[in-house]
C-alpha cells in the first residue's frame, strides 16, 4: 500500500508551483467566482451566433425537408453522417482519459479529465443531432424506441446496426453524463462552501446534492468511480465499434471490411485527443491554469496522438493493400476512386493521408511534443484530417455506384448542410463556455489527492528516498501511520 503511493522522481511533477490544498481550491475556483473576461464574452457571443445559424438551418430542414441538402441518387449519406461520426469520435478521448487511464492508474489524467469528459458529453450531444435530423420527419424520431405501440405493436429491428447505434449512443451519453456529474459533486460542494453571494450558495447547494465529504461517502464514491470506469472502458470501445458496424455490415465496396472496428476506435481516440489539446491549450491560457495542465500533460497527449495516428495510418495502408490483394474488382474500383488522382474526389484522400498519417509524425521529436504552438496547430490539422477520413469513407465509396450513368452527380453540400455543421460547433462551444464559467474545469478533489505525491514541493521532498534501500523504504512506509 505504501509503496504504491511512492512515485519516482524521474517523472516530472504533475502540479507545478509549490501549492497547498487551499491554493489548489483558490486557483481552480477563481475563474468561477470572477467576472467573465472579455475573451470569454467574445467567444461566447460567436458561439451563440453559430448556434443560431445552425438552429435556422435545422428549422429549414424541418420545414422544407432534407431535400434542401445536396444528397443525391448515390450519395445518400453525405455531410450529415460524416459529421455524426466525426463528433462521436471526438467524444471518445474524454472517456479514454477518464475511464481507461483511471484503470491504468495514470496520474496525469487528473489534470485534464474533467474538461475532457465535458467535451465528450457536448460532442455526443452534437453527434446525436445528425442522425435525428437525417430522418427527415423528425417528429417521428421516437419510432426508433422499442415501445408497445398501436401499430401492431410493430417493433424496431433489433438485428439492424442502425438500431444498435441508437442504443450505443444513448447509453454512452447517459453513462458519460453520470460519470462526469458524480465526479463533479464534491467540487461543486467546494464552490458552495466558499460562496459569498446568496444566489451562488443556493445554486451550488442544489447542484452539489448536499455533499458533505464524509469518509463513508468518499468510500462509496471511490467504489462508484472505479466501477463506472470499468463499465465505460468496454462501452467506449463498443460505441465506435457499433458506429463502424453501420458501414461494415453493409455490402458496399469500401465499407464492407472487417478492419473497421479497431480502425474506427483508433481514429476516434486520435481525433478526440486532438480536440482535447485544442480546448485545453486555450483553457490553460485563458484561465491561467498552467500549473495544473503542464507541458508534461501536453507531451503525454501528443504521444497518444502519434501512436493512434500511426495505427490509423497502418489501417489505411492495410485497406489499400487488401483492395489489391483481395482481387475483388468492385473493391478495387472503390479504392481507385480514392487514390487515383484523376478521379474527382482524390484530393480528399490525399488531404486525409497528409493530415492524419504524415503530419503527426513530427511528434516523434520531443521538442515538437513540448511546443505549444506546434501542438495547437497540429491539433487543428488532425481534426481536419479526421473529418476528411469520414468524408472519404462515406462519400468516395458511394458517389460512383454500380451504374456509371449516375456517376456524373458530384456531391457538394448546400449552405444549409454547412450551416447545420457550423451550428453544432455553436452548440459545442456554447456548452463548453458555460461549463468553463460555472463548473470547476479541473477536478479539485483529484488534484488534491495526487498533490502529495506528484506536486512539485513533495517531489523535492522525496529526493532522498531514491538512494534508500528498498527494504528500508518499505519498512518506513509500513509504519508511517
Amino acid at each position: 500500500m505504501g509503496l504504491l503511493r511512492y512515485e519516482s522522481q524521474t517523472r516530472n511533477p504533475l502540479v507545478t508551483g509549490h501549492k497547498t490544498y487551499h491554493q489548489v481550491t483558490e486557483d481552480i475556483v477563481r475563474p468561477i467566482e470572477a467576472k467573465p473576461s472579455k475573451l470569454w464574452k467574445i467567444g461566447f457571443t460567436i458561439s451563440l451566433f453559430l448556434l443560431s445559424f445552425g438552429a435556422y438551418s435545422v428549422y429549414r430542414d424541418v420545414v422544407y425537408g432534407i431535400g434542401q441538402w445536396n444528397l443525391n441518387k448515390t450519395v445518400g449519406w453525405g455531410w450529415d453522417i460524416t459529421n455524426f461520426v466525426w463528433w462521436v469520435g471526438i467524444g471518445h478521448a474524454g472517456t479514454l482519459i477518464s475511464a481507461i487511464l483511471l484503470l491504468f492508474r495514470q496520474g496525469w489524467r487528473t489534470g485534464v479529465n474533467r474538461a475532457a469528459e465535458a467535451m465528450t458529453i457536448f460532442a455526443v450531444m452534437c453527434a446525436g443531432q445528425f442522425p435525428i435530423f437525417h430522418m427527415g420527419r423528425v417528429w417521428n424520431a421516437f419510432f426508433v424506441l422499442p415501445y408497445p405501440n398501436t401499430r401492431g405493436p410493430l417493433w424496431v429491428n433489433f438485428n439492424s446496426p442502425l438500431l444498435w447505434d441508437v442504443f450505443a449512443i444513448s447509453t454512452y451519453f447517459t453513462v458519460s453524463l453520470l460519470f462526469w456529474y458524480c465526479g463533479l459533486l464534491p467540487d461543486l460542494a467546494t464552490v458552495r462552501d466558499r460562496a459569498k453571494e446568496k444566489w451562488r450558495k443556493r445554486m451550488y447547494g442544489v447542484l452539489s446534492f448536499g455533499w458533505t465529504g464524509s469518509t463513508k461517502h468518499w468510500q462509496r464514491h471511490e467504489s462508484l468511480s472505479l466501477v463506472l470506469a470499468g463499465l465505460s472502458t468496454p462501452l467506449v470501445l463498443s460505441v465506435h465499434t457499433i458506429v463502424s458496424f453501420d458501414f461494415a455490415t453493409s455490402v458496399i465496396p469500401g465499407w464492407h471490411t472487417t478492419i473497421f472496428p479497431p480502425y474506427f476506435v483508433a481514429g476516434a481516440i486520435f481525433s478526440g485527443f486532438a480536440m482535447v489539446q485544442t480546448l485545453l491549450l486555450i483553457v490553460r491560457k485563458v484561465l491561467s491554469l498552467e500549473d495544473y495542465i503542464t507541458l508534461e500533460h501536453i507531451e503525454v497527449m501528443n504521444k497518444v496522438i502519434v501512436l493512434t495516428g500511426s495505427i490509423v495510418g497502418i489501417a489505411y495502408i492495410t485497406e489499400l493493400f487488401i483492395s489489391w490483394y483481395g482481387q475483388n474488382p468492385y473493391e478495387a474500383a472503390a479504392f481507385r476512386n480514392r487514390w487515383d488522382i484523376t478521379t474527382p474526389l482524390a484530393w480528399s484522400y490525399y488531404l486525409m493521408m497528409s493530415c492524419n498519417v504524415l503530419s503527426p509524425q513530427i511528434f516523434w521529436f520531443r521538442k515538437m511534443r513540448r511546443n505549444i504552438t506546434v501542438t495547437f496547430f497540429m491539433s487543428i490539422i488532425v481534426n481536419v484530417g479526421m473529418w476528411f477520413e469520414r468524408f472519404v469513407i462515406i462519400v468516395t465509396s458511394i458517389y460512383r455506384d454500380y451504374l456509371p450513368s449516375s456517376w456524373s452527380t458530384y456531391y457538394r453540400p448546400t449552405i444549409w448542410e454547412v450551416g447545420f455543421y457550423m451550428g453544432t460547433f455553436g452548440l459545442f462551444f456554447t456548452c463548453f463556455f458555460l461549463f468553463s464559467k460555472f463548473f470547476p474545469v479541473i477536478a479539485i478533489a483529484e488534484i488534491k489527492h495526487i498533490l502529495k505525491k506528484s506536486g512539485e514541493s513533495y517531489k523535492e521532498g522525496v529526493g532522498g528516498i531514491e538512494t534508500q534501500a528498498p527494504e528500508e523504504f518499505a519498512h518506513e512506509q509500513a509504519h508511517a501511520h
Partner: protein, 198 residues
C-alpha cells in the same frame, strides 16, 4: 431525528490525522465521522468502517440489464412478432450482442448511481449540517459524538493533544432536511426541539 451534541476538531495535515484517529478509537470515544476534502485511502479502515458493497449492487443491476435485453428481444422476435429477415433464424443471438451489452452497462451505471445517491442521501434541494465550511477545501474535520456522560472539555483537550487546530462544540441534527443553503436558521432550531444537554 434528534439533535445531538458533537465535539469538532479540525486537522490541517493528514499525517497528523491518521494517528489521531487511532488515539480516538483507543480512548473509546464515539467517532461520528471525518469530513475530508478529497478521498483519503485507508482512512475508512482506520476508522473501522466496513467495505462498501456498492459494486455488488452494480453487478446485480448489470445482470438485470442483460436479462431484460435478452428476454425482451427474444420475446419480440420469436413470440410477439416474428419477422422474416432474409430467411435467417428468428432467434438471432449474435446480432443481439451489441444491444444486450449496452443495456447491461446502462442498467448497471444508472442503478449504481441511484443507489449511491440513496445510500449517501444525496439529492438536489437537500440540506445537511456542515460541521466546517472548509471541510471541502483544506481541513480534515473529525467529529466526535457526545452522550450524557461525555465530558466535553476532556474531549476537547484530548483532540488538542492529538493535533487538532480548531476545536469547538456543536449541536446538530445529522440527518437531512429540505431547505436553502443561504439561510442559517435550521428547521430544528425554529421548532425548538429540546436536547438532552440543556
Amino acid at each position: 431525528m434528534s439533535v445531538k451534541k458533537f465535539v469538532v476538531g479540525c486537522f490541517d495535515d493528514e499525517a497528523v490525522l491518521f494517528p489521531a484517529v487511532k488515539k480516538v478509537r483507543k480512548a473509546g470515544y464515539k467517532l461520528h465521522d471525518i469530513y475530508t476534502p478529497f478521498p483519503m485511502h485507508g482512512l475508512d479502515h482506520a476508522m473501522g468502517l466496513r467495505d462498501t458493497s456498492l459494486h455488488t449492487a452494480g453487478f446485480i443491476y448489470a445482470i438485470t440489464g442483460t436479462t431484460t435485453a435478452l428476454g425482451g428481444i427474444s420475446w419480440v422476435f420469436t413470440k410477439d412478432w416474428p419477422l422474416n429477415i432474409g430467411g435467417k433464424p428468428h432467434f438471432a443471438l449474435p446480432a443481439w450482442i451489441p444491444i444486450t451489452f449496452e443495456l447491461t452497462v446502462l442498467f448497471s451505471a444508472v442503478g449504481m448511481v441511484l443507489t449511491f445517491c440513496y445510500l449517501c442521501q444525496l439529492a438536489p434541494f437537500l440540506k445537511k449540517h456542515h460541521f466546517h465550511p472548509r471541510a471541502t477545501d483544506d481541513q480534515f474535520v473529525m467529529v466526535i459524538e457526545c452522550n450524557e456522560k461525555t465530558n466535553e472539555d476532556e474531549v476537547k483537550s484530548f483532540l488538542a493533544q492529538a493535533g487538532a487546530k480548531e476545536i469547538n462544540v456543536q449541536n446538530a441534527e445529522t440527518g437531512w432536511w429540505l431547505g436553502r443553503y443561504d439561510k442559517d436558521t435550521m428547521p430544528f432550531q425554529v421548532r425548538k426541539e429540546k436536547t438532552a444537554f440543556e
